[in-house]
């Protein structure tokens, strides 16, 4: 007995050809056991009813519900859910197109994931000429990203029992009713599965959000913000939700505990450098910059080379102001120095900081502390910039080989799918600025003392992953990082070989990347032809 899939499509006044194409895309499914429930929300154009009735007459698997009044998308969708009889229910917009293998692929993934209660797929856009453009290759389940944007999209499939349990669409969320139901469904689902294939095309009509015109449905974003605020309350996140600069994205601003204590661990050799035409002793300016960007009482643990001049250490103490400073002289790699620093740190949280940094944002520590103060979170990192304003690091991707995400891109770029502006899970983070709970750092055994710092960062990140602890990257906090410490993993060296042998397949596939993206790169280029 094969599973039955119900596709629910609320319909309101689409052009006849568009609606016909949508219906035909369902009829063309290679998987046969489906039903299509079309709910006409009293469309004013008479052609809609004609198209729907003709479709129902042509295929007994098509059911048409004609509403007596125009109730909006929530009411129409709920009418569709009431009629749907499948084991699983898929949602499809009246202008979207399913690919022929969409349901077959979902069926395959249900077989592979028996506990799957909800799944979503990759998508692309259809331009007005019918060309598939702008594919959106999504990450695997990424709850923090969902709290920043509705990345799940239109064609989602729910187990019917899950929908019964959460109660369908909620009135009052028109325009973002899908975001609201995704948030509630994923809270309750046993397993959320990503299908890394483009299973539907999202049509760019002038009146659709896909057109990129954010003034089309402003009410949708307001409703989305409310849905997200309610989600935060339900899951116990103490936060305010703001709309981000790029509409459709949101900032969840968690509140940090006022009694949280932070130790800032800075390994340094007391190096001197020239930035923006001015000579600086990096560690002094780093400390000064952290002090200026927080009102918290913090402790600095500066682990310096024994040869660091006394005058530099005195200047660091002066720059730290009222903050307590622990100075430790130690030789060795940055990672070894960090380990030593954490041992001497007294804070509940440790911020691993490169000495060649300068904070860009007003409040630096609180957003990081608030994010890290969650049991499932292992480490938090932030957006870093080169001195010339290009993106230095937006987290690490371990897809084929480790790489910094979108490094070298211009400051104005938002990245594919808003990658550079949304808060999200990543596989790895840079210790140029990484905040962890001290007990987490100790639990995973600290950093392996690689001489190459980026290797130590990769290793620490993968240890956190191994302990099922999330690594969260946020664009809400930014700093300049004046030194490019990224070094490609070279398995011809002892250290590189050790790293590769230790983590092997963990470096090959990144759940927050996508199999459709080219391995070995951090710039989200498609692997195949577009």
């Amino acid at each position: 007995m094969t599973r039955r899939y119900s596709i629910v499509t609320p319909v309101y006044d689409p052009p006849a050809d568009v609606l016909n194409e949508t219906i035909e895309s369902v009829r063309a499914q290679t998987y046969r056991n489906w039903e299509l429930v079309l709910v006409d929300d009293k469309s004013p154009s008479p052609h809609v009813r004609d198209v729907l009735r003709e479709a129902a007459a042509a295929d007994e698997r098509i059911t048409v519900v004609e509403r007596a009044d125009n109730g909006g998308i929530v009411a129409a969708s709920n009418d569709g859910l009431a009629v749907a009889s499948g084991d699983f229910v898929g949602l499809l917009d009246h202008d979207d197109l399913l690919t022929p293998e969409a349901l077959a692929m979902v069926e395959l993934y249900v077989d592979l994931h028996p506990d799957m209660d909800y799944c979503y797929s990759d998508e692309d856009l259809l331009d007005p000429d019918g060309n598939a453009v702008a594919p959106f290759y999504k990450p695997d389940w990424s709850p923090e990203r969902l709290r920043s944007q509705n990345y799940l999209g239109h064609f989602s499939v729910f187990r019917s029992e899950l929908l019964d349990r959460i109660g369908g669409f909620r009135p009052g969320f028109d325009g973002s009713q899908d975001y609201d139901i995704f948030l509630r469904a994923t809270e309750a689902a046993r397993e959320v599965v990503h299908i890394p294939y483009v299973l539907y095309h999202w049509r760019q009509l002038p009146t659709s959000v896909a057109s990129g015109d954010t003034s089309v449905k402003p009410y949708a974003y307001v409703a989305g913000r409310r849905a997200l605020q309610e989600h935060c309350r339900r899951v116990g996140i103490d936060a305010d939700v703001d709309m981000a600069e790029h509409l459709g994205n949101y900032h969840v601003r968690r509140r940090a505990r006022s009694d949280a204590t932070v130790s800032v661990i800075i390994p340094t050799s007391g190096a001197l450098g020239r930035v923006w035409g001015i000579e600086r002793r990096f560690v002094i300016d780093a400390v000064r910059s952290i002090v200026a960007s927080t009102s918290r009482d913090i402790e600095f643990v500066v682990v310096h080379d024994p040869s660091t001049p006394t005058a530099t250490l005195d200047a660091v103490r002066l720059a730290a102001g009222d903050s307590s400073v622990v100075m430790l002289a130690a030789a060795g790699s940055d990672a070894a120095k960090i380990n030593l620093g954490v041992v001497r740190a007294s804070g509940e949280f440790v911020l691993l900081l490169d000495d060649a940094v300068e904070v860009r944002t007003k409040e630096f520590l609180d957003p990081l502390v608030a994010l890290a103060d969650t049991p499932v979170v292992g480490a938090v990192g932030c957006k870093t910039w080169f001195a010339d304003g290009r993106v230095n690091d937006a987290g690490h991707v371990y897809h084929g080989s480790p790489n910094p995400i979108m490094s070298g891109r211009a400051s104005y770029e938002v990245g594919p799918g808003g990658l550079l502006v949304v808060q999200r899970e990543v596989s790895g983070l840079s210790s140029a600025s990484m905040l962890l709970r001290r007990d987490v750092f100790e639990e995973v055994g600290g950093m392996h003392p690689f001489r190459t710092r980026s290797y130590a960062d990769i290793d620490l990140s993968l240890k956190l992953r191994h302990h099922d602890l999330d690594r969260i990257w946020t664009a809400q906090v930014e700093l300049y990082h004046f030194v490019d410490r990224w070094t490609d993993v070279d398995s011809a060296t002892d250290e590189g070989r050790f790293l590769v042998e230790r983590w092997g397949s963990q470096l090959a596939f990144d759940p927050y990347s996508n199999p459709n993206l080219q391995p070995g790169r951090g710039d989200w280029i498609e692997a195949g032809l577009r």
Binding site: W276, A387, G389, G408
Partner: protein, 110 residues
């Protein structure tokens, strides 16, 4: 200033406790010998302005570099697509040349 009622060269000056007078004297002397605190503050302001200008200039350069990086990625993608098209379409068609009239027509042969 000889002849001034306030000036008596016959009487040694007592150290003045008037801080304003001392400050004025320090200011006078510093004006004579070079930069003073005010000059230092002005230099700092100039330095910060220069720093801001440098940040702005570097940022403009960074924007260009970032734009170039995006273009380079796009070029790589197009080259890869081209290679795919060449290997999977053009070369295959060439191998089939002479076998079918359709392919001959595509290559301008009868």
């Amino acid at each position: 200033m000889q002849g001034s009622p306030d000036y008596d060269p016959g009487v040694p000056n007592e150290p003045s406790l008037d801080i304003d007078v001392l400050r004025a004297e320090v200011a006078r002397l510093r004006d004579l010998v070079g930069p003073d605190e005010k000059s230092y503050v002005q230099l700092q302001i100039d330095l910060l302005a220069a720093r801001d200008a440098a940040i702005g200039a570097e940022a403009a350069l960074g924007t260009q570099r970032g734009y170039n990086a995006a273009l380079e990625a796009e070029v790589e993608r197009l080259q890869r697509d081209f290679r795919w098209f060449r290997d999977n379409v053009v070369l295959r068609l060439k191998r089939m040349r002479g076998r079918t009239s359709f392919v001959n027509a595509a290559f301008g042969r009868r």
